[in-house]
């Protein structure tokens, strides 16, 4: 039904256009305007339309930008995000003013200087003073923007502070996984050849640092403390994008990337601020990676520092949840592995069983 309506509409539209076309052509011939250099009627009509267009679109632009301000500006929840938002709005003011002035000139000139038979254009081929002015002024304005931007960029991409909480994020088709260093504050080595259905990270269990690493389902980070995301990918490019933290960094197979930041609002605070009790920080993917690109969601919870500590304490190491992998730990490190991973209190039996198979590793 809808299709038929659309079709009929289209046919009608075409018919109307054809009619306009024929009539205007006949009129032109009848009035002899087709012989004139410039068709005055259409010319001033077009000139007026520029003014109308300018007024209407500026109206819409201001109306939408002001009324929907809250909708299109997501709240910011990181220290550097406040700075980059600041830069964004500074640039918006500068470019916004240029945008408005140049468009007013464009539309106004179009109207004002429309063709008049009796008048003629000004022969004005160049003027060095003007040209120097509008080379130098944009150059200065841009320099200022560049230098403020450079400073912020350098600070953001500077080395993460020593005490930063390290969180590893790995992208794969089509989800994220996260790994924490555990008590030793050190992420264990990994090797993509060790990846299997359980060991999704390819954790290298010959490295002591792996024993206490844990892999929770969502990311928790402490409010007000520096956090370092160590980012990698397992198959194709992905990109970690946390809109509220103004954070984005590609996940590249074969190369680790980093982004550190300081979250400034806990999830609870954000729920209050947005008035949305369901609010959650999210990570999305912004590098095309295949069929499920649009669905790579990971939750981030920003805790108060003490809640974060509590949460950390509750986490069980990956090894303790995947005991069979103890077999991959070299014999001389087994004890240490059990201790570090919190496997102490488990039954001896299965472990020794695995040990024999493990020897062949």
């Amino acid at each position: 039904m809808l299709q038929i309506v659309i079709l009929v509409g289209l046919v009608l539209l075409v018919a109307i256009l054809m009619a306009i076309f024929r009539i205007s052509r006949l009129l032109n011939v009848a009035k002899g305007t087709d012989k004139e250099v410039v068709d005055k009627g259409s010319n001033s009509f077009n000139a007026i339309l520029f003014i109308v267009f300018g007024v209407v679109t500026f109206g819409l632009f201001f109306w939408y930008s002001i009324v929907y301000y809250d909708e299109y500006t997501p709240p910011v929840a990181s220290e550097h995000g406040v700075l980059t938002d600041g830069l964004f709005w500074t640039t918006m003011w500068v470019t916004g003013i240029v945008f408005i002035i140049t468009h007013i000139l464009l539309f106004w000139f179009s109207y004002k200087y429309q063709y008049k038979k009796e008048s003629s254009a000004l022969f004005f081929p160049h003027n060095n003073k003007l040209e120097v002015i509008w080379t130098v002024v944009p150059a200065i304005v841009l320099t200022i923007l560049v230098f403020t931007g450079l400073k912020t960029w350098n600070d953001i991409t500077d080395k993460a502070p020593e005490e930063a909480e390290v969180v590893e994020i790995m992208g794969y088709q089509f989800a994220w996984k996260t790994r924490y260093p555990g008590n030793d504050k050190q992420l264990g080595n990994y090797d993509f050849r060790l990846i299997d259905a359980e060991n999704q990270f390819g954790m290298d269990l010959t490295d002591k640092a792996s024993f206490d690493d844990f892999t929770p389902r969502e990311i928790h980070i402490p409010k007000g403390q520096p956090v370092l995301f160590k980012i990698r990918a397992r198959d194709v490019l992905h990109s970690v994008y946390a809109p509220h933290f103004r954070l984005k960094m590609d996940a590249v197979p074969g190369m680790q990337t980093n982004f550190w930041f300081v979250p400034t609002k806990s999830t609870a605070e954000m729920r209050e601020e947005t008035g949305n009790p369901e609010f959650n920080y999210e990570i999305a993917c912004t590098e095309i990676c295949g069929k499920g690109h649009f669905s790579m969601r990971m939750l981030v919870v920003v805790d108060e520092p003490e809640d974060y500590k509590k949460w950390l304490a509750e986490q069980e190491s990956w090894l303790s949840k995947n005991e069979t992998y103890l077999a991959k730990v070299p014999a001389n490190l087994k004890e240490e592995a059990k201790k570090a991973s919190g496997l102490n209190n488990t039954v001896e039996q299965p472990v020794s069983e695995v040990e024999t198979t493990g020897a062949s590793m």
């Binding site: 205007s24 964004f88 000139f109 841009l142 490019l237 197979p253 069929k291």
Partner: protein, 625 residues
């Protein structure tokens, strides 16, 4: 200036002169394997229009998905077959294929081949006063390589596994691994093969444009008298010649990685349940190579449009283009700078942040020549006597898009701001305005302006006005709202936004954009009708319908092979003598000597009259043979 007049005499004069009157072509040599630059230009134009239509339709299909995620698209099954899922929706993988093909088609096939191919071919010989391109045969090859490339790219749309789907930038590993996405199987191979032929076509064309401009200008046509169109095409060809080979290299290495087990771009990959043997490659390497072309490509697309509008705005303002030399200077600046800003597409790819700082600096420098161009356009309009032909309207539209889209580039060029905006709809809005719509308007302006020269008939102006206003309004309705969606953080290349709380809004605005896109596409049919109708039934064109100064209007209304039946006119003055004080008419064509315009000459021009007489001697000689 005075000494620059001495030119290499045009050898082509003599070669062609006696036989071009009775040049009898058969159908095949006239319309298909033609070596006449005008016919080749038309071939590029028609092919480009076909691609533009297809690219537009693809975008409307994926806009349906974005604007109306719940819509039943069962009715598309006859066209898309199994890419419509059981639920009557577009398959998410096919969505990516649509986006990829849309981008590839628009950037390369429409705005590179369709724009440069058409107007460089058509205008270079006509405006510099040459009988044809330096090599008509290479020129013909250029079109047919493009045609071959088109066939391959088009066929890839219909294969079982679907066309390439890794985005128009086809980043590996996604594009290198057939198991990563089905578009990376045969579709990707065809994409690469098609692009190689495409590049061959571009290079053949480019070599021709450059050598023609350098060697075949008519008597008196020094570089400082070249119309800005020619300057733009010339610089565009140079950019293309220097940057496209790098894309070939990038594509070749990708072919190796895909088919011969090398690891240029691949390292440490575990996919589909197995670890691949590749080690030591870098996906970042591909990105550097790609954007070394990719960024200049933006200017390959844009510069011809800017050249075209400079010409049209000057003509229809009845006023010299303001700052002719500054315009050339800024184009030169853009040309050079366009090669050293590529990594601004890679701020957050894990590239060394120090490099990011450098590229940010260089990027914002390139904004200066762009700003200069805008101010010069505005000053050209100031105190003009503006005639709103459809071409003029589209040119003014281009200036508007160039401003709107150019300004948002200042955000994206700032690495700190780009962290948030990268790969969001803000970027989509930005490049569609500054590169997509601006260049598209340049193309349209060019078609309306030179249609009389191409087909000897006029397009209907009223339909042109309607076409312009609907398109101008439509483009802003499509792309302006995308800024808001982008500032809100919506990522691009997303099939749907419902998975995220952060992006679960703006459904109304997205629906609005989609309706506007359909509306805008619909408006193009007015143009199509006007174009084809006028080709056969349009009012017969006068010799110089826009009362323009450049040489192409001195040819017969329907120029034959060789362009001028007699001698090629000699050029005495720059192309922008509009509304010169004292002159009888408000334009003085380039081939009118100063000795005939004593009433309007500036003091230094009177001195040039002496030199002209020497020039005349040469002309007289030439006419005698």
């Amino acid at each position: 200036m005075a000494t620059a007049n001495i030119q290499t005499p045009d050898l082509a004069h003599d070669v062609h002169h006696d036989h071009d009157h009775e040049h009898h072509d058969n159908f095949i040599t006239k319309y298909i394997f033609s070596t006449d630059h005008k016919m080749i230009a038309k071939q590029f134009l028609i092919t480009g229009i076909f691609w533009a239509l297809l690219g537009g339709i693809l975008s409307v299909i994926f806009r349906l998905q974005l604007g109306f995620p719940d819509m039943q698209l069962e009715w598309l099954r006859p066209f898309l077959g199994k890419w419509i899922t059981e639920q009557g929706k577009i398959d998410p993988e096919f969505y990516l294929a649509l986006v990829t093909m849309h981008g590839t088609i628009m950037v390369f096939f429409v705005l590179t081949a369709g724009l440069s191919g058409t107007f460089s071919n058509f205008l270079i010989p006509l405006q510099i006063g040459a009988r044809d391109m330096a090599s008509g045969f290479m020129n013909m090859l250029s079109y047919w390589f493009f045609f071959l490339s088109s066939i391959i790219m088009l066929s890839s749309l219909f294969i079982e596994t679907g066309p390439a789907a890794g985005g128009w930038v086809v980043y590996p590993p996604l594009s290198a691994l057939p198991q990563a996405i089905s578009g990376s199987q045969l579709g990707m191979t065809m994409w690469l093969v098609a692009m190689v032929f495409f590049i061959v076509s571009t290079l053949l064309g480019g070599v021709n444009y450059i050598s023609t401009v350098i060697n075949m200008r008519t008597q008196g046509m020094s570089f400082s008298k070249l119309p800005l169109t020619i300057w733009a095409f010339f610089l565009t060809a140079i950019i293309g010649l220097l940057s496209f080979p790098v894309l070939i290299a990038a594509a070749l290495l990708l072919v190796f990685d895909r088919s011969f087990g090398t690891s240029f771009y691949l390292s440490e990959i575990y996919i589909g349940g197995e670890a691949l043997p590749n080690m030591g490659g870098s996906p970042i390497l591909y990105q550097h190579l790609f954007w070394f072309l990719g960024h200049p490509e933006v200017y390959i697309v844009l510069l011809p449009a800017l050249g075209i509008t400079s010409e049209i705005i000057a003509t229809n303002s009845r006023k010299p283009i303001f700052g002719y030399r500054a315009m050339i200077g800024s184009m030169l600046g853009i040309t050079i700078l366009s090669f050293i800003v590529w990594a601004h597409h890679m701020f957050v790819t894990g590239m060394n942040p120090f490099l990011g700082s450098i590229f940010m600096l260089l990027t914002l420098i390139i904004a200066v020549p762009s700003a200069v161009k805008v101010f010069n356009y505005l000053t050209t309009l100031w105190k003009g006597n503006l005639v709103f032909t459809p071409a003029m309207l589209f040119s003014i539209g281009l200036v508007s898009f160039f401003i709107s889209g150019g300004l948002t580039g200042i955000f994206l060029g700032n690495a700190a701001i780009d962290i948030q905006l990268h790969d969001t709809y803000f970027v989509v809005a930005h490049f569609h305005l500054v590169m997509g719509s601006a260049s598209f308007f340049g193309l349209m302006a060019g078609v309306y302006h030179w249609f009389p020269k191409m087909f000897g008939r006029m397009m209907d102006a009223k339909l042109g006005y309607i076409h312009f206003w609907l398109t101008f309004v439509g483009v802003y309705m499509v792309f302006f709202p995308m800024h808001y969606i982008g500032i809100a953080g919506f990522p691009r290349r997303y099939y749907s936004f419902t998975n995220f709380d952060a992006f679960n809004s703006f459904t109304d605005l997205n629906a609005f954009v989609s309706i506007a896109a359909i509306f805008t596409l619909g408006a193009q049919f007015i143009f199509l009708f006007n174009f084809f109708y006028s080709m056969f039934k349009g009012r017969v064109a006068p010799a110089n319908p826009w009362r323009s100064t450049t040489l192409e209007w001195t040819t017969p209304i329907n120029p034959g092979h060789g362009n001028w039946p007699g001698a090629i006119p000699t050029v005495y003055r720059w192309p922008y003598d509009y509304s010169k004080p004292g002159a009888a008419e408000d334009f003085i064509p380039q081939h009118i000597p100063y000795s005939q315009t004593k009433e309007s000459n500036l003091p230094h021009e009177n001195e040039l009259i002496k030199l002209e007489n020497e020039g005349d001697v040469v002309i007289v000689n030439e006419n005698k043979h």
